[in-house]
């Protein structure tokens, strides 16, 4: 599997660490809503098809990426920085 890191370009799966379901929202830090915390920590969407997920390019620029990937075919349809596009550069662009 290759993931096209927006900074580093297409890289091998072995350079990435999977961080799972990207649809989860962390409650506000001071929130006492235990159900919300539990849901955030434990419950995952697990679709057969397109999946919005987070990967870290741990063996590269170490950015966290939001990846949409089909869990039936492993085809990747989009990759972007989780941080938003503030850092975005064209992959492989130089000068």
């Amino acid at each position: 599997m290759l993931i096209t890191c927006p900074y580093c370009g297409p890289r091998d799966l072995s350079e990435f660490t999977y961080q799972g379901d990207g649809n989860r929202t962390r409650p506000a830090p001071a929130s006492q809503d235990l159900d919300a915390w539990n849901a955030y920590v434990y419950d995952r969407l697990n679709p057969a098809g397109d999946h919005n997920e987070i990967w870290q390019h741990s063996g590269g620029c170490r950015s966290h990426l939001r990846v949409v990937r089909n869990t039936l075919t492993h085809e990747i349809s989009s990759v972007g920085f989780v941080r938003g596009d503030a850092h975005a550069r064209k992959p492989g662009a130089r000068k």
Binding site: Y7, C8, E15, A88, K95
Partner: protein, 200 residues
């Protein structure tokens, strides 16, 4: 500062660094390996949106014009700089004290500097077969069109994290963690045996 120069730095490669010709050297060495000792190695981190000002800071402090763009870099006059991640740059210089120079002049609003002069070891591989040998270890495309001179890449060989800068047509500087440097050096020598290598 001055006091540092009186004590010799101990390379992690010391006991395994064996100058001379090794491996399949019937037709000369396919690659040359050496430790590229730099007095200063540092990482600069720009806060989001401050990348251009960081590049300007690198130009004014280190006198290096880093091209704006992912992995862009430059090698000049014994100094080098290249992008390693969004807003992050590695800068090296032969002389010591570059981290202090940045710390003194870099505005906190732009970003920060981290001194890695002792934390990273730079190993240089050059020669006709450099791409071939590196391709044994790293899953990135080393061909010149994909990896131009000056550019940098962050990648990994299993447990060993590496930043690689192409310093010339057939020359690459590989920055590895100091604690892994000896293991990586041995691995690189092993991988170079097939083409023959000379340690300088």
């Amino acid at each position: 500062m001055a006091s540092r120069n009186t004590v010799e730095r101990l390379s992690p490669l010391e006991p395994v660094y064996q100058p001379g010709l090794h491996g399949q050297s019937e037709h000369g060495a396919g690659v040359t390996l050496c430790e590229a000792k730099q007095g200063s190695i540092l990482q600069l981190t720009a806060w989001p949106g401050e990348e251009k000002r960081m590049i300007a800071a690198i130009r004014s402090v280190a006198r290096l014009a880093v091209p704006d763009g992912a992995g862009g870099g430059i090698v000049k006059n014994g100094k080098a700089a290249f992008g390693i991640a969004p807003g992050k740059f590695t800068v090296t210089a032969e002389e010591e004290g570059l981290a202090e120079a940045f710390a003194a002049s870099l505005k906190p609003a732009i970003g920060t500097v981290t001194d890695l002069s002792h934390g990273r070891t730079i190993i240089r591989i050059s020669g006709e077969k450099a791409e071939w040998v590196l391709a044994k270890l790293f899953a990135i495309d080393f061909s010149l069109p994909a990896f131009p001179i000056g550019a940098g890449r962050s990648t990994v060989h299993h447990d060993i994290f590496a930043q690689i800068q192409r310093t010339d047509n057939d020359s690459f500087d590989i920055h590895v963690f100091r604690s892994f440097a000896r293991a990586f050096w041995k691995l690189l020598c092993h991988s170079s045996e097939e083409v023959g290598y000379e340690v300088q």
